[in-house]
Structure formats: C-alpha cells, structure tokens
Symmetry: C2
Subunit: 462 residues, 2 copies
C-alpha cells in the first residue's frame, strides 16, 4: 500500500494513530468502492476512515481543521447526486461502524441510533415493539439513517407522514475542529433557540459529522390496504390522484407510473395490470382493519370518475405485496431499459402535475428519448429517468438537453429542482435558477458559522 500523492506522510501517520488497524484505509484498491455513489460518478479519496466512536470523530475533525483536509461523511453511498463522491480528495468518513441501535423506547416513542444504521433495520426493530419509524425512502433497505437525515430523504409515505426532517428530534454532531454539539431533545416538541436540528437535515454533509440521532416514533398502524388502478393515459391517472385528495382522503402513499415505466418493469417481471394501460396508481391506506375496509370503499369511489380501465383491491399482506412489487422493481428495471440514465426528482405544486407530465412527454417525443416517469405524486414529486446510451455522443447530448428542459419546466411551474435527492454535484450548475444570490449568501454565511475553513464536503450542495 502506498499513500496517494495528495496525503502527506505526517497526516497519514496521524490518521493511523486515530484509526488503528483496518479502521483506516489508504490503498487505492480498497478505497475504490468508497469513491463512487449512486450518481455513478467516481473519484479517489486520499484516505478512508471508519470510526467506531465519538472520540475518533473528534480527533479526526481536529486534525482535518488543522490541516485543511476535506472531509466527506458517507453512509451506504445510495445518494444519486454525487454527495458521496470525493471530487476534492480528502478523507472519506464511513459510518459503517457507527451502526448501533442504542435505544428503542416504547414509552417515550423515540429511538436513539448511530448514523450508520440501515433505515429498514430500525423500522424492523421498532415494528417488533409495535412502533413505527415513518420515513421510507426507496433505498430504505440499503441506505442509512444518517444519510437520510443528511439529504432529508422523502419516500412514499411522506405524503401522509412528512419527510425525514419531520421525524428528527435531536442529534449529536462533531464540528470541524472537534467540538461536539448536542442539538434538540428527546421530546416530541421543543422550541428553545434557533432550530439547529432541522438545519442539519438536508445539509448534505456540509456542516459537520452526525454521530447520533434521536428520532420520533409513532404507533405502528394496525394494518394497511392498497388499491391499485390502471388508466388509459397519464392525464386520467393524475386526474384520479387529484380526486382522491379532493374527496378528503390523505393516503399513506400515492404512487404513479407512466406507460414507459410500466413497460420497463413488464420487461423483467409479470405485472398485474393490462399491457395496454397508459398509467397506473398504487394507493396505500393505513389504520385499524375496521376503518380500512370503510376507507378503501371511499377511495374506490373517489378514483372512479376518472375512469380506471383496471383496478385491484389488496387488503392482505400477500395481495399488497403483489401490487407493490412492480413499483419496487422500477429502479432495477430502469437499469435494464438502457445503458445509462439521468435521474431527476423534480417536484411541482400538486395541481401542476398534469402540466408537468405533459411537458415531460413532449420533451421525450421531440428529442426522441425514452423517459421513464413515475413518482410520489401525492407530493407532486416526479422521478424522471432519461434513458440513453452515453457512449453515443448524439444520444448523450439529447439526454442532457432533455434534462435541462425538464428542470426549466419544473421551475417554470413553480416547482423545485429536487424534492428528495438534494443538489450534490449534479444540480449545482442549475442552482442559480432556483436560489437567489441573497439566499446563497445566507447559506454561505451559515455554513461558515459551522465550518469556517470549508473542509466539510467541499464543492457540494450550495
């Protein structure tokens, strides 16, 4: 093993002292996997460290501040916008060994966890006590709660339960220089001073390293039920989605898929709906079994005027699994639909969904591209996968042009560049279209309050 050119010998020695044995990694071969994330970017860091305790994180951030060493916190690398790619070199801090569930309290309705806990593991352990950690990003089985907080991850249940931010009560973080800050409390309500907890949510690793999180738990809903519907076209499906809310129903999840996305799934697995359908909705409710039976009927009635061509009620776990499986297969299916994809998560005001979907279809048609369109339409959150072959320069250029037009379309409809993925590297070039110089100035000054030397995940987010 040899140090990479960018890491002076004294820094390497200092890192080896803080992180003995295999807790520090310097060989390019071993570091390779820590240089990539779900954005498919890659860059090699100068070192990777795997702290096991707070003291190691403190010592690291004292050293890093002193030596002006870039520091990149990293969970499981499921981030899609390049947040975990060490483009500025520096030290990647893996939370893989800060992964203890310290406490799940069925009286306080809180969990205390380290950032490296995989979110699905927390959910499962909570469910064993009839408790519910509500946020459920699509990556829930692979991503960590620390990463979820750093990006303010959303997911399917956000429409009813809110995003990750709404479930974080307190946290411990280490700041550049090694100071430790405990923000928030173990209480479900707290308004004492400026809201530092929420400031860490969605900060994309730019303020400090989170070492512990206290999150809110809810009572586990007794049961769930799902209504899956297929429609002739996108417009009918999105009309039905609006009708559900207008009927006074707040579903647990309201997922949408357009024709090309459905076809991508059908290419790898059987699907329940007719092949001719142009769009689908999968709508979940939760509550007591008695209440669910009544509410499922109301939901069917609300969705009917838009004219579904197919529908299926799923009121048992097995039946639900069958209608949700195609939605879960969408991500793996997308990777088979073309060699490459540009993945965005534009979000528009809920009433602008039909205009957004029509505009995206027009872009796909005009640029002769396959675009998979799906998403959490209860939040106005559309996932747009622009499929292409990056080896074909013309196709790549058309895909980039499509992306630019779709981001512009979302903003022109009053929307946002990102509903749940964040900015990272990939949306940075578009940031000035959404944020004013005044907003960016405030963010830069707030960042400096935490990280005056700019060592935390430099060049990302804002």
């Amino acid at each position: 093993m040899r140090p990479t050119p960018s890491l002076p010998a004294d820094i390497r020695r200092a890192l080896e002292n803080i992180f003995p044995g295999d807790a520090a990694v310097f060989s390019p071969e071993e570091m390779f996997v820590y240089g990539v994330d779900a954005s498919r970017r890659h860059a090699l860091p100068a070192a990777v460290v795997r702290p096991e305790n707070l003291e190691q994180v403190r010592a690291l951030l004292a050293l890093a501040q002193d030596k002006r060493l870039p520091v990149l916190p990293r969970g499981r690398g499921t981030n899609t916008v390049g947040d975990c790619t060490p483009v500025a070199g520096g030290v990647v801090v893996s939370t893989a060994r800060l992964a203890r569930i310290k406490d799940i309290d069925a009286d306080d309705f809180v969990a205390v966890v380290e950032p490296g806990v995989v979110t699905a593991d927390l959910q499962a352990e909570a469910a064993g006590k009839r408790l519910f950690y509500a946020p459920d990003p699509a990556s829930v089985k692979f991503s960590t709660i620390g990463g979820n907080v750093a990006t303010c991850a959303g997911g399917m249940r956000a429409v009813k339960y809110g995003v990750t931010r709404d479930h974080v009560l307190g946290l411990t973080a280490v700041l550049p220089g090694g100071e430790v800050v405990h923000c928030g409390r173990r209480t479900h309500k707290n308004v004492v001073g400026l809201d530092l907890v929420r400031l860490f949510c969605g900060s994309e690793g730019t303020l400090g390293i989170i070492t512990e999180l206290t999150v809110k738990l809810l009572p586990l809903p007794a049961a769930t039920a799902t209504l899956a519907l297929a429609f002739a076209d996108v417009d009918a499906a999105l009309t039905a989605a609006g009708d559900v809310f207008r009927a006074g129903i707040l579903p647990t999840a309201l997922e949408f898929m357009a024709r090309e996305a459905m076809a991508a799934v059908a290419a790898i697995s059987p699907v329940p709906w007719p092949e001719t359908a142009g769009a689908a909705l999968i709508i979940r409710l939760d509550g007591s079994p008695e209440a669910l039976a009544a509410d499922l009927a109301l939901l069917e009635a609300a969705a009917k005027p838009a004219g579904p061509v197919w529908s299926r009620r799923a009121a048992t776990p097995e039946d639900e699994e069958a209608v949700w499986e195609p939605r879960r297969l969408l991500n793996p299916a997308s990777f088979k639909a073309a060699p490459d994809k540009i993945s965005d998560d534009v979000t528009v005001p809920r009433g602008k969904l039909r205009a957004a979907a029509a505009g995206i279809k027009a872009v796909a048609d005009e640029l002769s591209l396959k675009i998979l369109l799906f998403g959490h339409v209860g939040d106005g959150n559309l996932h747009v996968n622009i499929m292409h072959d990056a080896a074909n320069a013309d196709e790549r250029n058309r895909a980039e042009a499509a992306r630019e037009r779709i981001l512009s379309l979302a903003l022109s409809l009053g929307g946002t560049l990102s509903g749940e993925h964040g900015v990272g590297l990939s949306k940075l070039p578009f940031l000035d279209r959404q944020l004013s110089p005044i907003e960016r100035g405030l963010m830069a000054r707030i960042k400096a309050a935490f990280d005056p030397s700019g060592i935390m995940n430099p060049g990302k987010a804002y």
Copy 2:
C-alpha cells in the same frame, strides 16, 4: 403628540415619510397597547409602525440598519414569554395591515398568506374549500400565522399533524438592511440548499420580518369524534394516555387536565364530569364517519384498563362542543383562580409524564401553592400555571421557587424548557441549563449571518 426622548427628530421624520398618516404612531397613549403581550410585561417603544406592503418593510429595515434602531415584529401579542415586549425601545412593527389571504388553492393544497392573518380565519376559509390548515395553537382565534411561525406554535393537533414548522413550505422575509429573501417553494417537498424556511420557524423575530408565507394544506377530515374520560387520579389518567398509543392509536388530540385545573373551570361553568374526579382526558379522532365509529370503540377499549370513573362518547359536533368547552375555558378560568400566574410549558419524553406530574404535585404541596396542570400529553407537553398573588411577597417568592424547581425537574427528566411557547425574555435566565455554549455560539453566529448589527428583537430568545 410628542416624540419619546429616545427617538431623534430625523428618525421620526424618516419614519413618517415611510409610513404616512396613521401608519406610524408616536404618542405614548396610542403606543401603550403595543408595549404589552400575554407575558403581562410592559415597555414603551419609541414608535409603532403598521406597514401595508413589502416596500414599506424594506424601507424601514434599511433605515433601522443604518440607524441601529431595534425592530420588533408583532402580530397580536399573544406570546406568553415576552417576545413582543419592546424592552430595548425601538420600533414595533405591527403586522395588523399585512393581513391578506392571497390564495387558497384546492389543487395545489397550499395557502399563501400575509403574516397578520389570524390563524382561525385561514382555517375557516380553507375549510370552505374542504381544505385543512392543521396547526391549532390554543390562541388560534386571536393569534396570527406570522406569530405562530415566529414561535413555531404547537397546539392540540400537533400530536397527529406536527407543529407549525411542519406546515410551512415557503416564505418571504425582509432582512436588516432591506434585502428581500424568498425561501422555499410552493411544493410539498423541497431539498435545495440549507433549510432557511425552518430556520425562521421558532426564531422569535430575531432574523428578519416575514412578509408572506406559503403553507401546506391537507384534505379536510370528513368528521371528528371525541372520547372524554375522567379518572380518580392523575396517575390513572396518564396511564390511560400511554395505553392509547400502545394500542396503536394516533389521536388528533389528547388533552389532559388535573384536579386543580378541572376545579378552576368548574368554578366558572358547568362541567360534564363528576366533581370528585382527579383528572380528565379529552381525546379526539378524525377520519371518515365509517372509520371513526370503529376507531372510537378501539379507543374506548384501550383506555378502559386504567379504570376511568366516567366517560362520554361525543360523535356529533354538538356533543363534541360540550366536552371540549371546559378545555377551552381553562385559560380564562385560570385568570379567575388567583390574581397572578406564572405560566410554563415544559415538555418531557412521553414516558416521563407520570414522573413529571408527580414531581409538580410535590412542588405544589411543599410550597403550599395552587398549580393548574394540563396540556397536550400526547406530546409530553405540560402546561403549568403557578397561581399566586404577586402583591404578597412571600407568595411571589414561593411561586418563583416553584417555577425554578419545575423547570429543573423537566430538564432532569430529559425534557425541554419550552415545547411551544419559546424562550423570549422569561426563560432566558434558564437557557444555559439546556443549551451548551457551543449551541449558543452557533446560534449567535447564525443570527449574525442575518442580522449583523443585532437590531432584530434584541435581547430575546437566545
């Protein structure tokens, strides 16, 4: 009218230019009401202005920055901790004329409002379109949404729907110097840059003046139903509250009253429960009428093992009104129970409620004080009214001693000084018991990013 000594003639002229006619007030008599808030503190400002538009706010904050003039935004003054008291003199900025509901959109599920809108007016107008603005602080009929955001107001429905913070999507604010910042979007999800929107929530008027808010609306629940229960003592009632959550029920509201609070209400109005009861719970559910009938039965079953001595199901609006009326009368009743009160809103982890209530009762007994105890126990949020006669020095000293012991008790149980009122002036002396110097340092540096000269609501909050 004469200018107060603290306002130089050139500043008065400048204010008169920005705020012609009765939009500026300088006479002590007219300003008197703007110098008090629900904390019952009083101080006279140097001027009161009532802007009608953004440009006036910009001009004011340019002038104030230039002249280092303290600026205090003010809604309806229902704040209980002194946030609206102009202890440093300066200019009080009333939002009374920034009170338009600009938009309630039944497709986007958002409302756009000016800060001076009374929250109940927004709720009523939204309900007319079958839309629901969920936060409902007890002051909802009198307080403004700007004030609710500035204090991150909670309220009874927070247990199910979250606090004000969780419903603010975007805002426009003017910063010291007159710059205008638009944060957030009209979308239900947005993660682009640091979360400036949430930073304004609970900032107690220390960062800038909010001139417009975009808030999230939900579908209006089709119906509500309430179960009211009385118990022999506090411990039984709080045991039942815990059992409700353990049964998997997430109520819309879960309110608690202890014996002395019930007696205070009974002294001014008939109450439905037996006079001998030692505690009460009032629990609301919402949903479709069909679902509610089923869920009300589950709720009754969950509350039964703790042994209620009385219960009443209220499934019509009239019946619900009858059981909620005593809860609403608590605040006016408290003012009749003794000449003065110290009002706190400590919040503890939900599982520590019984310990907190027992500790508060011990303080009341030991110091021979009447303490009214009630609150939003679904959030662990206890309202503690320490009744006394401030004209009696001994009684006042005992009340202050009780307060000190109750705040210490809450912190020792892992709780917070405030769940929903904020810090203002009244909790400032206790702040170092909850916040570390590192947290306070971060807050001071963040504050300086918005307000480098420290003119916004100086001496408050943190």
